[in-house]
Subunit: 343 residues, 2 copies
């Protein structure tokens, strides 16, 4: 913390011949203190370089005004936009954020949860790690009445508060669009299907196929970690399939883009030979050529919704909703990588 001494309210009190209580009240502009005293205290505080000790205040108030957030990784455009939206709401409300990454591993997620709990965050926001199936490491928060909200990667159980995109509907819309463009043999590249987001996308894909009288071919479903590298490997696998597929729908843009690029390098024409689509509307979706058809995932909006709902709850403004799922409408962005008709 420091080696040199901090100025405390006692230092100010002594100098002004006042009690610590008066100083404390003046500093927070309590109306029970005279204008004159308040101003005097505030000036003195500024002059002496007083900085309130939030640690002491937090201990005394039993509140930290800190919201903890645990996310799989920070290097995702979607997460970054959620964070941006989230902060714009909670900061004016007097809260700040502490962020940690699980790196997609439960053990780290558990460790982070413990740290957050011990730091006495006022609320916890979580998007689950890839291999998290059990969420009992968040139970202590619930038991102590600390709100735990999930977004994007949420648990199955419905005794919690969740914010998700309409992954299923988005996937149906996207797959249907590909079918309308003439695709009949569509490969789906999925992530870890124990996660709602990937499972819903997979199910939406299947539903659209069935609705259009197409068969679900299990050889056409590839599961990997949706990374850049996996996109390249998926492309190679796709090229080895017989008959050759005429569409690829990957569950994120990074993987879709890498796949598209690799297919092109192998001489496949996009979208004529194989149409390709992604998910998330990540900046990379506009970098590849042709641009990637994808689903707009409004992270900023999601961040704001979660934050607003949370702040309302922390301020006791909303009825205490322990559970409930808020579903955010997605938007299909039709772009060159799937549009055979208008090129």
């Amino acid at each position: 913390m420091s080696n040199k001494k901090h100025i405390t309210i006692y230092d100010i009190a002594r100098e002004l011949q006042l009690s610590a209580a008066t100083v404390s009240r003046s500093l927070k502009n309590s109306p029970s203190i005279s204008q004159k005293t308040r101003q005097l205290v505030q000036e003195t505080a500024t002059r002496k370089g007083y900085r309130p000790n939030a640690v002491a205040s937090n201990l005394r108030r039993q509140k930290t005004n800190t919201i903890g957030m645990i996310v799989p990784r920070l290097d995702s455009y979607f997460i970054a936009t959620v964070l941006a939206g989230f902060e714009t709401v909670i900061n004016p409300a007097g809260y700040h954020l502490i962020i940690s990454q699980s790196f997609e591993r439960v053990e780290k997620e558990i460790a982070n949860a413990i740290t957050m709990f011990n730091s006495r965050v006022d609320a916890l926001i979580v998007s689950l790690a890839a291999d998290t199936t059990d969420t009992s490491h968040f139970d202590p928060f619930i038991a102590k009445g600390v709100p735990v909200f999930y977004f994007d990667r949420v648990p199955k159980k419905d005794t919690c508060r969740k914010f998700v995109l309409d992954n299923f509907e988005a996937s149906v819309a996207l797959t249907s669009h590909m079918i309308e463009q003439g695709c009949r043999k569509i490969v789906h590249i999925s992530g870890n299907i124990t996660k709602n987001v990937y499972n819903d996308r997979l199910n939406g894909y299947k539903k659209a196929l069935v609705d259009h009288g197409l068969e679900v071919n299990h050889n056409y479903i590839i599961t990997n970690d949706l990374s850049f590298q996996s996109g390249i490997e998926a492309a190679e696998k796709i090229l080895s399939l017989n008959p050759l597929p005429d569409g690829v729908f990957a569950a994120n843009d990074m993987c879709a883009a890498a796949c598209l690029q690799t297919l092109k390098e192998k001489g496949i024409r996009i979208p004529d030979d194989i149409a390709v689509a992604g998910f998330n509307n990540d900046p990379v979706s506009r970098m590849v050529e042709p641009r990637l058809t994808t689903i707009n995932y409004p992270g900023d909006l999601m961040g704001k919704l979660v934050a607003t709902s949370l702040v309302d709850k922390l301020n006791g403004k909303s009825p205490v909703k322990i559970s409930g799922t808020q579903i955010i409408k997605s938007e299909l962005l039709k772009r060159g990588s799937t549009c055979r008709i208008n090129g």
Copy 2:
């Protein structure tokens, strides 16, 4: 923080007919407590669901074991890799991280600095906002002996500890490579040149031109915010130049990629008509076609270096270095967007 009650060491002490001091010591495995008592206390703590109150401990110890980090934005691949590297070093050392974003604005950076100070972070790591010129908002940390380390976007003054890439040398190497590929009229797209990173890149570009007997044409230097959108606008500006440039070196990959793509759409052949290069080795650099020549910016390594140096200092293992700059070697990645010879 909570509405229901937390278990404290007093609860354990009462149950076991011990003093709080003994419980506290047992919990941290102090050798002055008998094995038997220690084990008993630990078992009881687990059974009762005891969770140490870090807030109280921090207040008492005058140390939070928390490192604050202020970055311009989180939606940058480089920053994300720095964070990943940083955490892998500080966590095992018993520290955790609190992150906040300045969104490239000083006012937010100042507000974040105040919050970090009041939260009594044990150290502060900063990469400056675009419009930060004065860094006096970090003085209170210095005054209290809290280490402040800068990385990437660092202040000019050398009375601080900094970690940077060899931006100047990297830029010289990249520009020279373009000249060797036959470029004679190279446009440079720069960011805010009050920032070392952009200023150094600009100067490296100029140096390489001069070294090769080429003239620095100020119409060929475009300054913007290096965003995707700015890349598109820069491309339009470039196409309006007479004579048409034969090379573009943008100070980051996102802008370079957007520019490359826009140029291509306007019928320019890359690299034959115009060669394009970026900076950072962001994933987008491998998404465009041809792939973008760029400078590898090892964020992971930088994060680890900063963290190691900081942990050493916090543990008193290193001589107290108040200042000093550590320069990290970059690497030129020659790719299709500039290579005319082997295409």
